[in-house]
């Protein structure tokens, strides 16, 4: 970074002469040190996973969750400064509630992502604040059913409402990633944090946009595997795998964002470790071949 020490990196709201906001770039650094988070979107839903670095052996295993729910149908996971992430989640919950108060329906995932993108961007504008030290992955399933207005009584005709377009599908799974600059995009697969490079490489190998879509259960297994692949055993501390998922109304979570059940998670993790073991065995074989040359 050529302009470090020139004073342009000391505050938000001041650009460097070459058009950069250094505070935002430093915030990205904070993210790059955090445990890997990923999100996978498939036809049946969304899976979120995080490599929760165990900071101390005195912490209770399985406690202090890193993935949070917003409303009922949206999940948030983030890499970087955990307190910033907590605040992000608080704000997201406030946004979801204010949406419900006005429109009496759950907030669509896209609208939440948009509002939170705007919120994070605002923290890049002012002298008095610093940008968020997190990149957040927001996954949700907007109901594909016709949901009633909150508190609704009564009903329409028993033959169903007239004039609908029956071919048009509504709702579905959504996945967004929001960066410290406030930039956000929709993704098929998203990764951030320490192991993002390896994780992204793995995600790109998956067929997430094609017609042959993977099942939600497969996505859970892939998520577990990718977190393990992205983890650097030699250098990194121990970690816990935390995973959550959201399916449609007819799927396993019935449209809600919940933790992946223990049995499924453990099975996915066992498979992940097995696969990892196999590939490292292969590597060892190859290297021993080389020795013989």
């Amino acid at each position: 970074m050529t302009s470090i020490g020139t004073g342009y990196d000391l505050a938000n709201s001041i650009f460097s002469p070459d058009g950069r906001n250094f505070q935002v770039e430093y915030a990205v650094k904070a993210v790059e040190n955090g445990g890997t988070s990923i999100g996978i979107r498939c036809k049946e839903g969304v899976v979120l996973a995080v490599e929760k670095v165990v900071a101390s052996k005195l912490l209770k295993p399985g406690a202090n969750k890193r993935i949070a729910t917003v409303d009922r149908h949206i999940g948030v996971v983030y890499s970087g400064m955990v307190p910033d992430g907590r605040h992000f989640v608080d704000r997201a919950r406030d946004e979801a509630r204010s949406w419900r108060d006005t429109f009496k329906t759950p907030i669509p995932t896209a609208d939440l992502a948009s509002r939170m993108g705007g919120y994070m961007q605002a923290y890049t504008l002012y002298q008095s604040v610093r940008p968020f030290g997190i990149t957040a992955i927001v996954g949700g399933f907007d109901s594909e059913l016709e949901a009633p207005v909150d508190g609704e009584v009564g009903r329409g005709p028993s033959v169903g409402a007239g004039g609908k377009n029956p071919d048009k599908k509504h709702g579905g799974p959504f996945l967004y990633m929001i960066e410290p600059s406030g930039l956000y995009w929709g993704y098929y697969g998203a990764a951030t944090g320490k192991g993002r490079q390896a994780a992204k490489a793995e995600l790109e190998k998956l067929d997430l946009k094609g017609g042959a879509d993977m099942s939600l259960l497969e996505a859970v297994k892939e998520a577990a595997r990718i977190i393990h692949v992205a983890h650097d055993d030699s250098n990194d501390k121990e970690f816990e795998l935390e995973m959550s998922w959201i399916s449609g109304a007819d799927g396993p979570t019935k449209g809600r964002h919940v933790e992946v059940p223990k049995e499924i998670r453990e099975e996915a993790e066992r498979l992940a470790k097995e696969l990892l073991q196999d590939s490292s065995d292969e590597d060892n074989d190859k290297s021993s071949d080389k020795m013989e040359e």
Partner: protein
């Protein structure tokens, strides 16, 4: 701004719309209705506005657009319902711009309901919200005086509606063809106009479907037979 002591709910509950009015206020002592049918919804209303027994406007338009294919029927105080409709029209316009897609009837009904509920002690507004949207098709919501929200296959409101509960219940059919549905609304409003002194004038209708909004007008001097516009 003095509310009469007669503002309480009388035993028959019906003349409450009148009692809640402020002194000298213009009243939509009205017959309004909205129905679902095979392709969407139809809104209908008479055109009489009164101050006491005097007809302040004999060609009123009580069918108000709040978005392209979301409309409402207004009854109660003209000033209150216009103010509420204006607010909702603004909110829905904003919503459409922000989200890049048209609002649903539910969205409109929710905003209407919140205003009517939060200001229930100040408003006299009996509203029927009807709209068509791609996701939910045609929907009808009724918001009576207290600000509750009721989803219905069809809704009738205003002082004239009391005279047509029987007619509507007996003749209502689900999933009617457009021509039959228009006829149902017309016949119902004709009865309401016949028996209710506070209803009268022309019959206005708006048909909301995937094709958009289509206005109908029927005049009393031709016995509401011929469609104008």
């Amino acid at each position: 701004m003095e509310f009469g002591t007669s503002g309480k709910l009388s035993e028959d509950g019906i003349h409450l719309d009148m009692d809640r009015l402020k002194k000298g206020e213009v009243n939509l002592g009205t017959s309004i209705m909205a129905i679902t049918f095979k392709d969407g919804v139809i809104l209908g209303a008479d055109s009489r506005t009164t101050t006491g027994a005097y007809i302040a406007n004999r060609v009123t338009d009580k069918l108000t657009r709040v978005h392209d294919t979301i409309w409402c029927c207004r009854s109660g105080s003209a000033a209150d319902t216009q103010a509420v409709a204006d607010i909702v029209q603004y909110q829905l316009g904003l919503f459409a711009m922000n989200s890049g897609k048209p609002p649903t009837t539910q969205t409109a009904a929710s905003i209407f309901q919140e205003i009517c509920y939060a200001n229930k002690d100040k408003l006299s507004a009996g509203l029927i919200i009807a709209g068509w949207d791609e996701r939910h098709g045609g929907q009808v919501y009724s918001i009576p005086l207290g600000g509750s929200l009721h989803k219905q296959p069809y809704a009738i409101g205003g002082s004239g509606s009391t005279y047509i509960y029987g007619f509507c219940d007996a003749n209502w059919k689900e999933g009617m063809e457009e021509a039959d549905a228009v006829n149902f609304v017309k016949e119902a409003l004709k009865e309401a106009i016949k028996w209710d002194g506070s209803s009268g004038g022309v019959i206005r209708m708006v048909v909301l479907t995937a094709k958009g909004a289509d206005r109908h007008l029927y005049l009393p001097d031709t016995d509401y037979k011929i469609r104008h516009t």
